[in-house]
Symmetry: C2
Subunit: 111 residues, 2 copies
Amino acid sequence: MDSEDLTGAQSLAAFAALANPHRLRILGALADGRQYVSLLARQLGMSRPLLHMHLQKLQAAGLVAGELELSEDGKAVKYFETTPFSLHVTPQAIKALVPTLPEAADRKETD
Amino acid sequence: MDSEDLTGAQSLAAFAALANPHRLRILGALADGRQYVSLLARQLGMSRPLLHMHLQKLQAAGLVAGELELSEDGKAVKYFETTPFSLHVTPQAIKALVPTLPEAADRKETD
DNA sequence: CTCACGTGTCAGTAAATTCTTACATGTGTC
DNA sequence: GACACATGTAAGAATTTACTGACACGTGAG
């Protein structure tokens, strides 16, 4: 995922997802490799429902991806990993993305 | 301002500042050049107190800088401009910045 | 003096985010 | 059957963020 391909709404979701210390630590932990939810919660010292919520936001922003697998002993285990995102944030990049923001787009269409 | 120089807290403030459509439009408008508050509020169609609040957040995050000047006819006018920031956001970059997050630092110091 | 223009700030409300507790499901083992 | 482990989700409280409206100040022009 590259900065240039993102719309305003997608960038907004990505920035919002990054604007939280828990989610940064989740991304940091997943940068080394994939991990499943319950173990990740124990490693980071947070409750599983809370981690679940944060992972949902990261996934909605396209920063992580999860896949449900069956372990050898038959249990369902959900692994998450980071997507190979690369955002380059500069004033000019933001200016280029402003016309694709939801509100601005609405204004252009409906006027 | 370069990504590598930022601490966790500073990155967090920057991401939080970027996670708002109004603030992206403010940055987009200032990417072309400096502007003063009242005129910028009219251009963007938002109230001046609201713009003031957003500019405070952008300034606290180090994304814009403001300087108070006296116009030719003696009035105090405050101009804002973008700082030349350049953030490169990748999973590895985030991992490197996790140890400098406030909570993690506290935990390391106080244990 | 009043008006128009610039600045900043405070109080209150509306809305979104964050977090905990408790519940539900399914599988393998003792 | 009861336990340990995995999954997901829903309700409610606490906190933070976003926004409006009203107020303050100062200057130059009519």
